[in-house]
Structure formats: C-alpha cells, structure tokens
Subunit: 346 residues, 2 copies
C-alpha cells in the first residue's frame, strides 16, 4: 500500500531525485528530452506526488478550512458547493467542520484547523459569537467571515446587503397594496438580523406605515420556530395582510400555522421569506423571497481570502453583494382585483 517516492522513480530513471522533482514541477532547468522521459516513466509507474511532504517545505498546504454551523442547513450547503468547486479551480481543497451551533466547538475546530496549517479559513459564524475569543484565533491565519458579521471585524467580511434586501421586500409588499405588514423572527445578538430589521423599519417609515415586529427568542431560524411564533401570533387578534419573515425557514413554519388556522396563502395572507434557499422553489412551497446569490457570495469570499493569503492587501476589503427579489406564488396584490399568480401550490 505504501506508494512510490521520487527516489523510486529516480532510481529506475537513472537520475537523481532532484531531477525528477524538476521534471514534475515544470522547472526550466531541465532538458526537454529527459523531462518527457521522466514524465512518461512516472505515469507508467503510477507515481503520485506526496503533497504533505510538499507542504512541509513549501510552508503552505493549499487547504482552506470551512467552519459552519451545520452543513445540512440548505443555505450553507449551497454555499459550500460553490466554495468547494471554486477553491478546487484555484488549486485549493476544502476541509469542512461543523460547529453544531456551539461556540466552544466553533473555537475548537478553529484551533484544529490552525494545527492543520490551513492556508486560510472561511467561517459562517454562529450568531452570538461576537466575543473576543474568536478574535485571538483569527489573527493567526487569514480569515473571512461570511453572512454574519462581527461588529469589530469589518475588513474581512462578505455578505449580501441585508438592509437593502429587506427594503426591497418591504417595498414589494407595499407596492402590492399591503399596509399592515408584520415582520416575524427578529433575533437579538445578530448583526444580520439587526440589519434586516433596519431595512424593514426604515422602509415602513418611508411609506408612513407602522412597523410591527415579532421577535424570536429561539436560537435558530428554523421552521419550527416560525410555526411556534406564528401560532402564538395568530391566536391573538391580528389584522395584518402580509407577513415578512426574517428567513425562508421561518416562512415555512408560518405556512404551517396558517394552514392550521384555515388562513389561506396567498389569498388571505401574503407571505415572504428571505434567503431563497432551495426549499423555497419547491412547488408545494413556492415562496416569494429575496435571493442571496450564493455563487457570488462564495467566489467573493474565496477571492478575498486568497488575496489575503497572497499578501496582496491592495484590494483587501469587505464586500456587500446585491440581493434581488424572487417573485413566486406566496404574495397577492391587495385592494386591486389582480389575481395573477396562484397560491403556494401553483
């Protein structure tokens, strides 16, 4: 099982192993005929270069670490596909670690990746982790944050423009004739959520309507949380015509609660999500939402990280990518008799 080394092929080629190394690495200081001969021999013998030995001397591994809460989160897994494919194009491999929504684990895996000598780390931090302990870690390796900002690290941060996204959403609902729009699922301790709420409230004020915010104390924006939140809200008096959710997952929970109450979507209630996770496009869900361009997010984050790794600090700065409206079937115009698009089941 132990594989061939440079020495092995050097021996049968009758050259020194430095020559073989040069043949493989495309060095100019080697004769073209010997290079061809050696390349052919390597292929025949089935030689596979040992990249850990290479890393040892080159002092970089071409591995980048990815830390996220849980890869089965659809937003995160979509992002990861693009991250991995793009990284590979650039000559890097991805080492993925789940922090399992646990701050201690998040730091532990960070340290683990540090000892793995990854060249850089991309992290989708768990919401509440704006503590200092991560700070001391991030100074040890190029790091870029995706989606969730830490207040004090604005320079290596990629995200969509959350505020603008919620402005677009609120404007859309307003343009449909909605005047009672409730925002569901605001969470404390999250910069992302604060920015989204701001987009909503500022747009409400612009249009002279009153913002109504349902806060969430649940640790995650799951559909279970959305269900619980909405069920409680529906049990009291309510006269809103539209609900704008802080995330698609929450919106799916709201659909459930609405169905139980006999509230039809979108006929009785318009519903919007945020993120455009893959769920949202599923026919039975068919949720109008705000898209996060995952691929652009991924390549931007990777580009930024690579820049930092290569020390070309020139363009090293955070970036906000643009959200966009995705119209599906969960919203309906009010007070006008337009019955254009169908319901969530259309």
């Amino acid at each position: 099982m132990s594989s061939l080394t440079l020495k092995d092929v050097a021996k049968v080629a009758g050259v020194s192993y430095a020559t073989v190394s040069r043949a493989l690495s495309g060095s100019p200081e080697i004769g073209e005929k010997t290079r061809q001969r050696i390349l052919k021999l390597c292929d025949e013998m089935g030689y596979t270069p040992n990249s850990v030995a290479r890393s040892m001397v080159m002092k970089h591994t071409n591995i980048i670490g990815l830390i996220l809460a849980s890869i089965d989160n659809p937003f995160m897994s979509e992002l990861t596909v693009h991250l991995e494919i793009y990284a590979r194009e650039l000559g890097y491999n991805l080492m993925v670690c789940n922090s399992s929504y646990n701050q201690k684990l998040e730091r532990d895996v960070f340290r683990l990746l540090l000892s793995r000598k990854v060249d850089g780390i991309i992290i989708l931090p768990i919401s509440h982790s704006s503590d200092e302990s991560l700070q001391s870690l991030t100074s040890q390796v190029p790091t870029v944050f995706v989606s969730e900002n830490m207040q004090d690290l604005p320079e290596n941060y990629i995200s969509i423009d959350n505020t603008r996204g919620m402005k677009i959403a609120t404007d859309y609902l307003y343009s449909l004739g909605h005047r009672k729009i409730v925002y569901l699922g605001a969470r404390k301790n999250s910069v992302t959520h604060a920015l989204r709420v701001e987009g909503y409230t500022s747009t409400c004020k612009k249009h002279g309507i009153e913002p109504i915010i349902i806060e969430s104390n649940y640790p995650r924006s799951s559909h279970e949380a959305g269900y619980l939140l909405a069920r409680e809200y529906f049990s009291k008096s309510h006269d809103e015509t539209a609900i704008l959710c802080a995330s698609d997952s929450l919106a799916i929970g709201v659909m459930h609660a609405a169905y139980e109450k006999g509230i039809r979507i979108p006929e009785d209630l318009s519903l919007m999500g945020f993120d455009n996770i893959s769920f949202a496009s599923l026919p039975p869900i068919n949720l109008t939402t705000i898209n996060q361009p995952k691929q652009e997010l991924a390549t931007s984050a990777m580009d930024l990280l690579i820049q930092h790794i290569n020390g070309t600090e020139s363009g090293y700065s955070s970036k906000l990518v643009s959200p966009s409206l995705v119209i599906r079937g969960s919203c309906l115009a009010r007070n006008k008799e337009i019955n254009a698009n169908g319901g969530p089941h259309a």
Copy 2:
C-alpha cells in the same frame, strides 16, 4: 504570522525539543514535573503543533476524503454532517469534494485525494460509474462506498436494504387498500434503483397485483424529473390509486404535477417517497416515506473505513442498515368500492 515550533519552546524551556515532543504526546518516558512545566509553557507561548510535519513522519494524515456528487443534495448533506462529526470524534478531519455528477471529475478528485495522502476515502459514487477506472484507484487506499453499490465491490459497501425498504413501502400501500400502485422513477445503470424496483415487484407479486413501472431517463432523481414524468403519465389514461416514487425528490415533482391536474393528495391519490430527506418533513410537503437512517449509515461507513485503515480486517465486510416506514400525511386508506369505480379522476 509564522508560528512557533518545538525548538522555540524547547529553547525557552531549556530542554531539547525531543523532550517537548514527549511532553505533548503523553509519552511515559518523561518526568511528571517537567511535563507540567512544559505543558504550561506551551500554553503560555501559544504553541500550536504542526500536524503536517507530524503526518510526514507518522505516515498518516488523519484526514479522510469524502467524494459525493453535490453537497447541496439534502440526503448527502445530512449524511455529511454525521460523517464529519463522527470523524472528528475519532480524530479525523474531512476533506470534501464534489464530483458534480461527472465521472471524469469523480476520478480526478479521487486522485487528488490520493496525493493528499488521505488515510481513507468515503465515496457516494454517481450512479453510472460502475466502470473499471475507479477500480484501479480504490485499490490504492482504503475506500468505502455508501448508498450506491458497484457490482464488483461488495466488501466495502454500506447502504440501507433498498429491497426491504421498497417491500415495506409496497406492503404499507397494500395494507391501506391500494391495489393499483405505480412505481415511478426507476433508473437504469443504478444498482440502488434495481434493488428498489425488485422490492416493489416482488411485493406486488406476493399480493397478486400487477406491477406498473414508469422508468426515468433523466440523469438525476430531481423533482423536475418527477414533475415531467408525472405530467406525462397523468396526460394519458390512468387509474392508479397510489404512486410509489423511487425517491422523495421525485415525489415532490409528482405533487406539483398532481396539483396542476387538480388531483388532490392524499384524497384522490396516495403518494410515497423514499429516503426521508429533510424536505419530506416540511409541513407543506408532509410526505410519507421510507427513512434512511443517515446517522447509522454515516457511523457504519466510518467504522468500516477505520477498521480497514487499521488493518483489522476481521470485521471488514459490507453492511445493510434497516430502512423504516415514516407515516406522514400523503397517503390515505382506500376501500374497494372506490377502487372498483376506476379511480376518482379520469
């Protein structure tokens, strides 16, 4: 940015770097007082062991490679969470590569992982890849296949019992009174699909009902494929009372096509999926299906791989884990009168 080495801490500790190494590795041949002193010093200085240097001499990396079609596939991402967490418990890290449903890429990343000197590889092969080219690769490193079998590699293979799963599904539908059950989405060139089809047909024969199979020529079992397949089927005459899909994704597409045709689920038509991906439990979908125990699949695969890595061939053999029925809201009991009428929709 360049981090401390053993020599650095040895220098300030006033000992040789071998001693520091021994303190860190928990070697018995070192005084307890010096060990404590050194450990404390390492902590103070912020020393991080270089695991690539360690790999160099130990001849193993404690990295295992994971190859899958696309991590945003919900089944695969759920599996990956468990794989990664369990691997980490066992002292391994995961290097994840997407093959993007591309056979050439699948082989390329395999070779890449080989040069990374991963200790083992877990692969969810793309369906048609029962070719020999992978064979020559898998002989070079411990490998276990998950979910999709290759006919000629039965020893390192973890999967659920696909046949039994479809037997359970068919039996369930039969027990609900269904006598016209169509199987939708069978795909050629896939052992998994062949096994599932067999479970279905054998159970049909057992009950004396006729198997009706809709084959799929689409490359993946996506909901788009399910929609297209079902739409075409619904456009012809049909009198089935239940559709059993080869996967949950297909079932979601069938839901869509049924809705368009005005066929209500489950009132007019019972629908079952297979896999129990996270989608299936979403309230608007609420699909009755067969569960694949992802965590058991993951730990079994990892255990098998580690066994092989450690050379303890004793228990090294493939394993079939048990599928189970998950009853949700997409199936209804059917009595014989309605069935005799030839179906609710014509």
